[in-house]
Structure formats: C-alpha cells, structure tokens
Symmetry: C2
Subunit: 206 residues, 2 copies
C-alpha cells in the first residue's frame, strides 16, 4: 500500500501530512486519518486547533527556557523551589522526566539541545550564554548537568565547565551512572557496569 | 509520566487531543506534539488544516459509498472497470487493500461495517438497501462478498444472501480461505487449515 493511489486528494493530503510525524508510517497515518473521519467535526477541529494554537501561542520561560503559558514558568515562579540548585537539561522532555521523579526541588535550565558539530549544533545555538548570566547573578550554588550520557552530552558538560571556570564556588555535578534499578546485571552494558564499579558507594545497611 | 502536570495548558491540551487517536498513548502524543513544536508554523497549520478539511469536505461516492472528492468516485466513473462484478466490503481500507492487489477490475460497494448486534450495528446502519437497489438495476452478474472472516462478517454474508434471494441470477461468491502465501503450515490456525483442506484445488502443474 506504499505507492497507493488514494480515491480522494483530501484523504491523500491528510495521510501525507500525518505521515510526516516521526514514527508514523503511511499505513498508520491512514488508520489515524480514517479514524478521524468517523469522529464529530468538532473533535477534529479540536485536534487541529490545539496543535496550531500550541505552535503559534506557546511561550518559553525567559529564565529557564522551559515551555510555559506565561513569561515566567510555574517552576521558576514557585518560591518553594530551591533557587540555589540549577539542573541543566537538553529539552522539555527531560524536565518532565525529572519532575515526575519528585526528587528534585531546584530550578531548571533548558539548553535546547547539546553541542553536536555533526548536526551543525554549536554553543551559540544553545541557551549557554543565558546559563552563564544566571550563574553570574550569584544565587546558584550547584549546577547538576543532566544531559544525555553520549559523546555530545559529555562534550557539552566539558564546555559548560570551561565557561564557568570563573565561578569555582559553584559546584558542578552530573547524574550518577550505574546499573538501572530492577535491571539484571548480565544485561547491563560493560561501560555502565564498569562505571558503576569505579563509582561504587558505601552500603548504608549497617 | 501518566499523571504528569504539564508546564503549559496549551501543551497539555494538544497532548490530550493527540492521545485520543487510537494506538497513541500520552507518551507518544507528547513526543509527536514536541516534534510539531520544533516545526515551522506553516507545517503545523498544513497538518491541522488537512485533517479539518478532510473531515468537513470529504464526499462519499453516491454509488459505492467509497470516499471521493466527487459525487461519483474515480472507480465507479472509470468505463474500463467491469460493472457486472461488485465487490462488497466493510470499509474504505478494504477497498485500498483490494485495489493494491491489482487483481480486481470490477466495482465496489462499501457497507460501512458489518452487522454486529453486540455493537448495536443492525442492517439499517449499513449500505444494504442501496446494495439491493444496485442489484435490482440488473447490470450486476456477480457479487463478491469480501467481508472479515468473523462471525459478524459471516452473519452479514448470510443476511445479504437472503436479501438477494429474489435475484438467483446473480452469482454470490466469497473470498477463498486458505493458507497464506509464505506462511508456515504449522503456524496456520486449525480452522483455516481445515477449510483449506475441504476447499482444496487441483494442482495445475502438469
């Protein structure tokens, strides 16, 4: 059905647009579109409008660059959060993941990616200057670098460390690497297992 | 991330609308929506518009009830198609599947479902009266019943046969049931395998 001739140009266009979404092939796109065809017109309008409105009206917090409906996001605006700890993340999804753990009460700084020369992403494309500015304000005591455990993530970590060389009073930390909770040891990759041995911690059971 | 508090109502609404699509959970919906957020505004408008336009402007062929941009669909309007053979199918997807085989040159009749008392679908909810009318016009010589090989499909087949009792001159056929091409015999279910034995055909190799 890949080079399928559709009986309707409207159908064809809707399927083509839907199939542009990541992970949605033409077959899935057709299934979704035919599903929408069976829904109320109002429901389809609601979907279309919600996507367009999000795209056109979304704001980003001017402090942490997280997605927000207001100039200052709910997290930055919350006086109960610890403004002395910044968690530096790649994107909004990382913020949502960390928030869902309930283990972090500090503030975020969303870079918008990691340094990746291969993809043409340099330091200037990321919210790095604004990070340095936030640190220069003097309130930040610790920066948790929570980027992807990839070469690009590590490169970005080193770059940030260098940019903040003038602030030795700010503690720089990274997420602990180790065996996943619930994972079988034999299925853990060697690099992670190796790091978890080097970075072993005291058993606090006694 | 299921009961996630999103940092933006716009984001929350877009994710909620996207997650209403069949087979799209909230995690996938979030991934798709954040992808759209990184696209041009024009691309997002194109997606939204194509869905809304399809839903609001779509037509159905007044003969076969297939989706169409015109009153009479391209298949029904094609003089090269054999108007004496009707293939009765459940939905548009069946039409696309059969068309993609390139093995059928007749016309279609899209019922819009099968009789299913459990789902509250009775004969009056389907395009059955219009099928009888088409047959009464006298041009149809064979009806291929290409419904799902389910209890509901079989029920609908029997119902159609009864409704067409006044037209014994019209040949009623169903799709051949049997072992799938390329399938291992041991993985074929017993009912299908049984039917393929009962309905065995002459080997035309000699």
């Amino acid at each position: 059905m890949i080079d399928q001739q559709y009986p309707s140009k409207l159908l064809e266009r809707a399927v083509a647009e839907m199939a542009k979404l990541p992970g949605i092939g033409r077959k899935t796109a057709l299934r979704l579109v035919l599903h929408l065809l069976r829904q109320d017109s109002a429901a389809v309008h609601a979907l279309g409008e919600s996507l367009v409105r999000l795209r056109d009206e979304v704001k980003y917090c001017h402090r942490c660059h997280n997605i927000s409906d207001t100039e200052l996001c709910d997290i930055c605006a919350n006086p109960l959060r610890d403004a002395s700890t910044l968690c530096v993340v790649e994107n909004i999804r990382s913020v949502l993941s960390i928030e869902s753990t309930g283990q972090f009460r500090g503030l975020y700084h969303v870079l918008g990616g990691v340094i990746s020369p291969m993809d043409g992403v340099g330091p200037a494309d990321l919210e790095l200057a604004s990070l340095v500015e936030r640190v220069a304000e003097g309130e930040v005591k610790e920066i948790i670098l929570a980027l992807s455990p990839t070469m690009e993530g590590d490169t970005t970590n080193f770059y940030i460390a260098r940019r903040l060389a003038a602030h030795p009073e700010v503690r720089l930390t990274v997420l602990a690497r180790g065996v996943s909770i619930g994972d079988e040891l034999e299925y853990t990759d060697e690099v992670t297992l190796g790091r978890s041995i080097v970075g072993r911690v005291e058993l606090n059971a006694r």
